[in-house]
């Protein structure tokens, strides 16, 4: 009997690991996607070209900017040193990416050439040294980044990461996990698991640490965890209910929310002096601090007007300025890395949706169509937004282009996913 139970528990653990892969469904407008052909081959016995080719294909397709065409009918006709632009034009492609793995003096390289079929020239040509220790996924994502940036002029984000929280029921108990994964869903690692609630993950400016809220001591408390060592530390000693952590871009401070005399106020923790300074003082709720890239001002959600709206305040002054006026609810602001836009949770009476607010012209644009959308965050290149949504009561993640044209749904089998945040 005992062994049967052990086996059952083991089975559960194994299953949950197997199921930890994210599945991504891409839904996008067909128009406007650039046709590209991709063909990799290998002359080295140490590396197969297939995995590189598949990762690059998947990256470019899932970006929504590209339509990856089948090159099997033309690739056999390509000799290594000559290009056949006429043939490729006939096949209907605008770009052709050729990759070749070869050996030179016993050292492996992958070389890739990006051809502009219409202009009939090579727009990018690079080689990367491959060793036994090479991270093939990372090398492939780097190639995708170069191709993407050369063609679109936008910085590629294929090698960036996301963090998110998942929940699953094991023996009727809810298990919370904090995950870090590649943006294509691979290499998902649960860096912390708990039977108590986890929430509000946020990346350190160098992407080497994650701060989050854990209820392991039966109250919300902020923890900082190193990704390389796994070491974790409570931000504040003592029995405080702290929440909504936000690292300053210069890494000197952590803004957070603390309850004082029954009101929720924003504090700033100084890592150098290990002291906290209170910066807001209003009756009601001030929370969800978000730093401006200048590390001198913060945006936050406050209900001082009677409804939750976004406010802005210098960390050295006691006066806040109201930023949003549209709708009845604006919360959880996340700023673009150029400091020009806020993504936020917005409600104008027809559900909580994701909106982008321009700080320059004060224009608010709704970009999602759910009713329970939340937790938006900008991609490092500001061209995509990642947020949490619900699909038939299941928590899913959605990545959308900032015009809403391309939409990718990311689901975790058997688990609810929520509170995604893109690395810097």
């Amino acid at each position: 009997m005992k062994y049967f139970i052990f086996a059952a528990i083991l089975q559960l653990i194994l299953n949950s690991n197997l199921y930890a892969e994210l599945t991504i469904k891409i839904d996008r407008a067909k128009v406007g996607a650039l046709p590209i052909m991709i063909s990799f081959n290998s002359d080295s016995k140490n590396f197969s070209s297939n995995i590189f080719q598949e990762i690059v294909k998947n990256d470019l397709y899932s970006s929504g900017f590209f339509n990856v065409l089948d090159s099997s009918n033309v690739k056999n006709n390509i000799s290594k040193k000559s290009t056949q632009y006429a043939l490729w034009t006939l096949a209907g492609t605008n770009y052709f990416l050729i990759g070749n793995i070869y050996q030179d003096n016993g050292i492996d390289y992958i070389r890739f050439d990006l051809h502009d079929v219409i202009k009939k020239n090579i727009v990018a040509s690079y080689k990367i040294n491959l060793t036994k220790n090479s991270n093939i996924r990372k090398v492939s994502h780097t190639i995708s980044n170069v191709v993407f940036e050369k063609i679109t002029g936008i910085k590629g984000i294929f090698d960036t990461k996301i963090a998110y929280i998942s929940t699953e029921k094991v023996n009727k108990r809810k298990i919370y996990k904090l995950h870090v994964a590649d943006i294509d869903g691979h290499n998902s690692v649960a860096i912390y698991k708990s039977s108590k609630q986890l929430m509000s993950p946020t990346w350190s400016p160098k992407n080497d640490k994650i701060a989050y809220v854990s209820f392991e001591n039966n109250r919300p408390e902020i923890f900082v965890q190193s990704l390389s060592t796994g070491d974790r530390e409570k931000l504040l000693s003592g029995k405080y209910s702290s929440s909504a952590p936000a690292w300053s871009p210069d890494e000197k401070y952590m803004a957070y929310t603390l309850s004082v005399n029954g009101n929720l106020e924003i504090f700033i923790y100084n890592f150098k002096t290990n002291t906290s300074k209170r910066i807001t003082n209003s009756i009601g709720i001030d929370t969800e601090a978000e730093w401006h890239p200048n590390s001198k001002e913060i945006f936050f959600t406050s209900d001082r007007s009677g409804r939750p709206h976004i406010y802005k305040q210098s960390i050295n002054k006691n006066k806040a300025k109201r930023v949003t006026f549209d709708g009845s609810y604006n919360a959880d602001a996340n700023i673009s890395s150029d400091g020009k836009y806020l993504s936020l949770v917005h409600n104008a009476g027809n559900g909580h949706k994701i909106a982008i607010f321009s700080l320059e012209d004060r224009y608010l644009r709704v970009i999602s169509n759910g009713r329970l959308d939340e937790a938006p965050s900008f991609a490092p290149n500001n061209k995509m937004i990642l947020f949490a949504s619900k699909k038939i009561h299941k928590g899913i993640l959605v990545a959308t282009s900032n015009d809403g044209r391309i939409r990718q749904e990311i689901e975790l089998k058997g688990e609810n996913v929520r509170e995604p945040i893109w690395s810097h």
């Binding site: 005992k2 209820f215 919300p220 709720i285």
Partner: protein
């Protein structure tokens, strides 16, 4: 009122003892028994927090009650162990409007007065005020809403003369809904504060 609720606590405590007895006698099925107990109990009791195995709701039929009592009659029953978990002074839940934390209705103010009076009478009693929000909107903001709702009730109790250190406040945000569902009815049942005894002070 209080007595009948202690009666139910009694039963759960008895049930636990039965299981511990079985565990002692038949080690091989120990794990299985505990798992079934927890699973069964959480089902029966419809508890949100699996740590809490006591409720104010009746959980066994009359005939089952009798059986349980028989098996455990040889052992003494220690009521202190459950420390008032699950004990309420009648209604212990206060509901809130969407995105609000003010307490308007007189029936809710009465609940707070009743608890305040109890706390003043029982010096050693301690309370936990648990705040909740519905699922809509930002999670961190909902955590703040739940906290503000709880803090407001604590504030009213302090004004009534309850000692500050006898009240603990915690918000779970939108994480522990009372009911599942995404309509106004379920949302309104989830925007709530539950007043729970940590220690009844008796």
């Amino acid at each position: 009122m209080l007595e009948s609720q202690f009666g139910h606590i009694n039963i759960c405590s008895n049930l636990w003892r039965v299981i511990m007895t079985i565990v002692r006698h038949t080690r091989n099925i120990a794990l299985f028994a505990i798992i079934s107990f927890l699973a069964g109990c959480s089902n029966l009791l419809n508890q949100k927090d699996p740590d809490v195995i006591v409720t104010t709701e009746p959980m066994l039929t009359k005939s089952e009650e009798g059986e349980v009592d028989k098996v455990t009659s040889a052992e003494s029953i220690n009521l202190d162990k459950v420390e008032g978990k699950g004990l309420t002074l009648g209604n212990n839940i206060i509901y809130f409007e969407y995105d609000k934390y003010s307490i308007e209705k007189s029936e809710y103010k009465e609940i707070i007065v009743k608890y305040s009076e109890y706390m003043i009478e029982h010096e050693n009693a301690t309370l936990r005020i648990e705040g909740h929000a519905d699922e809509r909107g930002s999670r961190a903001y909902n955590l703040a809403l739940g906290e503000k709702r709880s803090e407001n009730i604590k504030e009213m109790m302090l004004i009534n003369g309850v000692k500050s250190d006898s009240i603990e406040v915690v918000s779970y945000g939108e994480e522990n809904p009372a009911v599942q569902g995404t309509n106004e009815e379920t949302h309104s049942l989830n925007r709530r504060v539950e007043i729970v005894f940590i220690n009844t002070g008796k």
